[in-house]
Symmetry: C2
Subunit: 384 residues, 2 copies
């Protein structure tokens, strides 16, 4: 296999300067300045081989409302131990890796940090095997990963969004794909579950857990109103829209997705959501190739194999004005720090007017009609 | 002002070959082969100074269902006479220009052709002046533009989508922003009106016409099921979604939009719609700078002026699998011919499963609740 490209943005730097400027404007919107990464974070990154990038997304100054600056951190990473290692060893290795990156985030002044989907485990849902992978499931409120996040959140005065495989032992030992939101004081604010479950290629998640039952809850934290649209939910604009209607200013999209399947969609979907809903959308993908002990098939006519394909990272933050940060690399662990001014959300609503022109009453009626089993779409037929 | 860039795609051709291939895959999805443009069309294009490009978007062969090839044509163009010329002269000049491009489309074997928004006139809504611009409004069923389109449609055996300023004299002489759909036999199949009206910058359309009342009608033509999402409606994912729910396989987005405002959004929105709804989305923008007789302001604190800014063309077709054609140029009139196999829509639904995982019942309930004036979004508050 050819070596993986680092990133599109990296390649574009070869263009002539004047053209590059215009290409970047058209592809990515207004350019966002870098922010300085403190030495301590740089050293951690060098020592533990992860990338740190930082950008600032500004808003206009207002007379009556002060700026509402928030530093958002998103983390992408590969697994930290072989998938053949004992479950506890695998999880501890990831706990350690993420603790180090979180420390770097704290040094960068991050206020709200989000990890990738199911970050405590390999993305083993390709295998369709229940053991040992279901052992990675944890209690959302009291599990060891939530406890770790509470310690980190309190230590660093940081809201943490932790996406895990949840075991709900109170309700029939059910499994869920869940994000736990922990306040900057270390309290579990609540949880929110993945609303849309894929059935495509290696993403056999529908054999593990069901569609989420937590609706489109928004968390009012000390650093703004946040929501979590987990992975495959990014393909559904109506999902993003409900988080926007419910007041989210930052929506995280912790994901796990591979190049052959989704890469041309990656730069489109979260960004479209940021535009349509006037919020910040944070697309987070894992990195690397995960190889499993037993072979599995991918429902594509090809022979059985043991790896999932390349998780291409490329995590980025999209702004409500249509601009976005460059992405993290396609190949390396990384921390992306983005300082945003949450006033931009309202400012863009005032400018573009997308919220007030949504005509939600029309769609409430249309959808209510469309879900009836005997619904007949309004169609004009050419009878000639 | 610096010279306008021809297109991002044109600039990228300077990258090293191996990198370019990967950059294109990530940015645009799988590559689509060009189709040959017949000599007659090339000659027309040279004589009248418009660009012609052609691509083929294939689908998998199936055993029981034959391919459903359709050639889609989209047209972008500048106005053809000064805005100070008599209204009749301006319109006739555009009728002539479009007739020539339509002839080229016929030579290319186009089955369904769509013109840009309000193609019979300059985009005069920036002026807020009602005269003489309202004179461009026509009866959708019997106006001179519809008559011309009927002649062209019958002559070339081509479905034509004609987006005009409509005067509905039967219902109070109201104005609408309307697309008329004409069958390949030359019959008016019906019309569909712009659902979402902008109030941003120079887009003072809300002072001319109201939100459309035709819902999300789909036209079953001899060349597939088509719908029309006019201009600003592309910012609203729920609008695209309803056309998809109602069965559209091709959705045209005839538009008029300028670089300073929307260009970083342009490549995102129609493409996201194609992905989310498993249909072909055709984004069509006008070209050039339109200068008006009287000065107007743009609600941006800047002095009064007479031009609208640069309409950047860049029309393209997005496929349901996340890929897209290259765009037409940012600077020149053009005809983009795209041969698609409509089977791809269903094939992608089977593969990605976006339609079956939409959970429309959830959103019918959520939206019905959200439109109540006393709606309280579900919010978990940090009480610390």
């Amino acid at each position: 296999m050819a070596e993986e490209l680092v990133s599109v943005e990296h390649c574009l730097e070869n263009l002539p300067e004047q053209e590059l400027k215009e290409v970047k404007r058209i592809l990515y919107g207004r350019e966002h300045p870098s922010i300085e990464i403190p030495d301590g974070a740089v050293q951690l990154a060098q020592k533990y081989n992860f990338e740190v990038k930082g950008y600032q997304i500004t808003a206009s100054r207002e007379e009556l409302t002060p700026p509402r600056p928030v530093r958002i951190g998103v983390v992408q990473n590969s697994i930290a131990a072989d998938t053949t290692a004992p479950v506890g060893v695998q999880r501890t290795a990831l706990h350690n890796k993420i603790s180090r990156i979180t420390q770097a985030a704290a040094l960068c002044g991050v206020n709200v940090l989000c990890y990738q989907e199911a970050w405590t485990m390999p993305f083993a849902f390709c295998t369709r095997e229940k053991q040992p992978w279901c052992e990675f499931a944890e209690d959302a409120e009291y599990g060891p990963t939530t406890q770790l996040c509470q310690e980190l959140a309190q230590k660093y005065n940081m809201v943490i969004v932790s996406s895990i495989l949840e075991r709900d032992s109170v309700h029939g030992d059910t499994l869920w794909n869940t994000a736990v939101v922990i306040s900057n004081k270390g309290h579990v604010l609540g949880k929110t579950r993945k609303n849309h479950i894929p059935r495509v290629g290696d993403f056999n998640e529908s054999t593990y857990y069901m569609e989420g039952d937590t609706g489109h809850v928004v968390f009012q934290t000390q650093f703004g109103r946040i929501a979590v649209n987990i992975c495959y939910g990014r393909h559904h604009p109506q999902n993003w829209m409900m988080y926007g209607i419910n007041g989210a200013e930052i929506v995280f999209n912790p994901s796990a997705t591979v190049g052959g399947l989704s890469e041309p969609l990656w730069a489109i979907e979260a960004r479209n959501a940021a535009i349509a809903n006037s919020f910040f959308a944070c697309a987070i993908n894992r990195v690397g190739t995960e190889v499993f002990p037993n072979e599995f098939t991918s429902a594509d006519g090809k022979p059985a194999h043991k790896d999932f394909g390349h998780f291409y990272g490329s995590s980025y933050v999209a702004a409500p004005d249509g601009s976005r940060t460059p992405g993290l690399s396609r190949t390396q662990d990384g921390l992306l720090v983005t300082e945003v001014d949450l006033n931009l959300c309202r400012q863009v609503k005032d400018r573009w007017g997308f919220r007030m022109t949504q005509r939600l009453d029309l769609y409430a009626r249309s959808l209510s009609a469309a879900v009836m089993p005997d619904y007949q779409p309004p169609t004009i037929r050419d009878s000639c």
